[in-house]
């Protein structure tokens, strides 16, 4: 099985505070991998380290066989690493169509071009429209993003990331803030993603995790506590005490 993404000894310190401790992690091509852990375990920091938003203190990150540890976030995106944000991070005054077109244009290397109207780049527009249609956003593509219901904004997050045709997609709590009934809907969209995209997602709801992930990594206090199939993780007594113990009631 070939590997899409690996980290070796990846660490992040803020002064004396260690938020990521020597994480050795690997994500096979086509994975559906969940990252879980209690609040403050360093899950989002781990994603930020992978994307380069936060520079690593030590260790290395390898994407599709290439060491990307020293690269800027935008360079990593160009190599096939895309993400969504836990707190919706979109373009409020642009429409979903504009936002996705923007991402498509960036992937195609068109965003430095000023001498041709966006409307003349038909292929980019068609592709953006196709992505919106696939994610059931076609009918709201022309509305300002800030006017959309939150659930749809979460899907726009995914649409913008997908427009980059990522090889590895990192989803930071994609369903955060959505009523639980609708979050399954969002995960249906995610489940329909092409097989060759390797997925790493942070999610709290163990039902969703066991339904959509084939493997799970548990992060506690910045280090990996356990890794395995959802069933193994649910059965792991250590995990149950540290993480699931307090949420067993509603799980």
């Amino acid at each position: 099985m070939s590997i899409a993404l690996t980290t070796a000894g990846l660490s992040k310190n803020y002064g004396a505070l260690q938020v990521t401790r020597a994480v050795d992690f690997s994500l096979p091509v086509g994975a559906r991998h969940a990252l879980i852990g209690p609040n403050g375990a360093g899950k989002t920091t781990f994603i930020n380290l992978l994307t380069g938003t936060v520079p690593a203190t030590s260790g290395s990150i390898t994407l599709l066989g290439e060491d990307i540890t020293g690269q800027r976030p935008d360079q990593r995106v160009k190599r096939g690493l895309a993400r969504t944000f836990q707190v919706t991070s979109l373009f409020p005054e642009l429409t979903p169509m504009q936002s996705v077109t923007l991402a498509v244009c960036e992937r195609l290397g068109l965003t430095a071009r000023w001498y041709k109207r966006t409307g003349e780049h038909r292929a980019a527009l068609d592709e953006a429209a196709e992505i919106l249609a696939r994610l059931h956003l076609g009918h709201v593509g022309h509305l300002l993003t800030r006017t959309l219901p939150y659930g749809q904004q979460r899907i726009v997050e995914v649409a913008v990331a997908l427009a980059l045709r990522p090889r590895v997609l990192l989803l930071d709590e994609p369903a955060a803030g959505i009523p639980s009934g609708e979050s399954a809907e969002l995960f249906e969209v995610i489940a329909e993603l092409p097989e060759d995209i390797s997925l790493l997602f942070i999610e709290h709801d163990m039902h969703l995790v066991s339904r959509f992930a084939s493997r799970v990594t548990v992060l506690v206090a910045g280090g990996i506590l356990a890794e395995g199939t959802p069933a193994e993780i649910m059965a792991n007594p250590e995990v149950r005490t540290v993480y699931l113990g307090n949420s067993e009631g509603h799980a």
Binding site: D74, T95, C105, W114, R117, V160
Partner: protein, 347 residues
């Protein structure tokens, strides 16, 4: 059907919209020539300052960059064209191009520092550069004439045909045509993927990095564009008045152009032009009454605009139109649904 583009002002009927614009661009100079020939000078000022405000709009309204030193490029363009004309290079069009080049070059060099920072720090960096250049021009009296201004410009006829006359007719049409050409280029920039990228950077730079945009490089590119247009505006002002005042580099002018833009409405493409027209005409009228009225009036109007009509004149018009035409007009183009034009609208 002509495909409508997603960014900014797209709505159904590209031709119809552009048709109205073209008619307007032809009607304005015609109206000035037929009915207000005694106002050629004023109209020339409006056109040159309108271009200057438009250049600032690319930064403030589109890219979300802030500047309190934009007069630096206006002044550099003016002094470049002025010095050329003083030293025997009177051909105006090549003078414009050289002025644009010099302003663009200075823009490129300073852009590295400007896009490194944001918000207040950006205001300070641009302000600092502006003050540096102002003081340098003030001290280099042998070159610039210092606070006496640059005198002795001899500008050749435009295209070798149209001599600059006493009534300012040539000056007006020359300025207006250059403004129109620059406006076409600016419109193209705004409607391009690059323009869309600038709007994305204004809305959310963090997300732009996350979609793979080299954000600093794009902002620098925008800064150079703005510097080039500002340089052309300054050169127009110098060539048509055959004089360059030290004030073209001043902080006061940087502030005034920002006022013009906010008055007209930032991020509206026409905001700078409308703002410059309102500003220059109001100054002309009020200064005739009493110079103090002008300062007083512009201060009061500015506070009112920022508090009650943050979209400026065009923002007011736009929200009026939306109120009168409440049904959002949408295109039926399947691939590119049109966007109701709502960017930066008034409250």
């Amino acid at each position: 059907m002509t495909p409508s583009c997603p960014p900014s002002t797209a709505e159904a009927g590209w031709l119809r919209r552009r048709g109205g614009e073209i008619a307007l661009w032809l009607a304005v100079p015609l109206a000035v020539a037929l009915f207000l020939p005694e106002y050629y000078l004023l109209a020339t000022h409006v056109a040159a300052l309108g271009l200057f405000a438009l250049s600032l709009d690319l930064l403030v309204g589109y890219a979300g960059l802030l500047s309190l030193g934009h007069a630096m490029f206006f002044g550099i363009g003016a002094y470049t064209a002025g010095l050329l004309a003083v030293h025997g290079w009177g051909e105006p069009i090549s003078g414009l191009l050289i002025a644009a080049l010099v302003a663009g070059l200075v823009g490129f060099i300073t852009s590295f520092a400007v896009v490194r920072v944001q918000h207040l720090a950006q205001l300070m960096v641009t302000l600092g550069f502006g003050l540096l250049v102002f003081e340098a021009a003030n001290r280099a009296r042998w070159l610039t004439g210092g606070d006496d201004g640059l005198q002795g410009m001899v500008v050749s006829p435009v295209l070798g045909l149209f001599e600059f006359d006493l009534f300012g007719q040539t000056a007006f049409f020359y300025t207006f045509v250059v403004l129109a050409l620059c406006f076409i280029v600016a419109t193209r920039v705004i409607d391009s993927p690059f323009g869309l990228t600038l709007e994305g950077l204004r809305e959310n730079p963090k997300r732009m990095a996350a979609i793979g945009t080299p954000t600093a490089a794009r902002l620098r590119q925008a800064y150079v564009f703005a510097a080039v247009f500002a340089g052309i505006a300054g050169a127009l002002m110098a060539q048509t008045s055959q004089f360059v005042a030290l004030e073209t580099l001043s902080f006061g002018l940087s502030a005034e152009v920002l006022i013009m833009l906010l008055l007209g409405g930032a991020g509206h493409r026409y905001g700078g032009l409308v703002g410059a027209a309102v500003f220059v005409i109001a100054r002309d009228l009020l200064s005739d009454l009493n110079p103090q009225y002008w300062q007083f009036g512009v201060g009061g109007v500015m506070v009112l605009v920022v508090l009650f009509a943050p979209g400026g004149v065009l923002g007011i018009l736009r929200s009026l139109r939306q109120r009168l035409l409440p049904v959002a007009r949408t295109s039926t183009a399947k691939a590119a649904p049109a966007t109701p034009a709502t960017k930066g609208g008034a409250a």
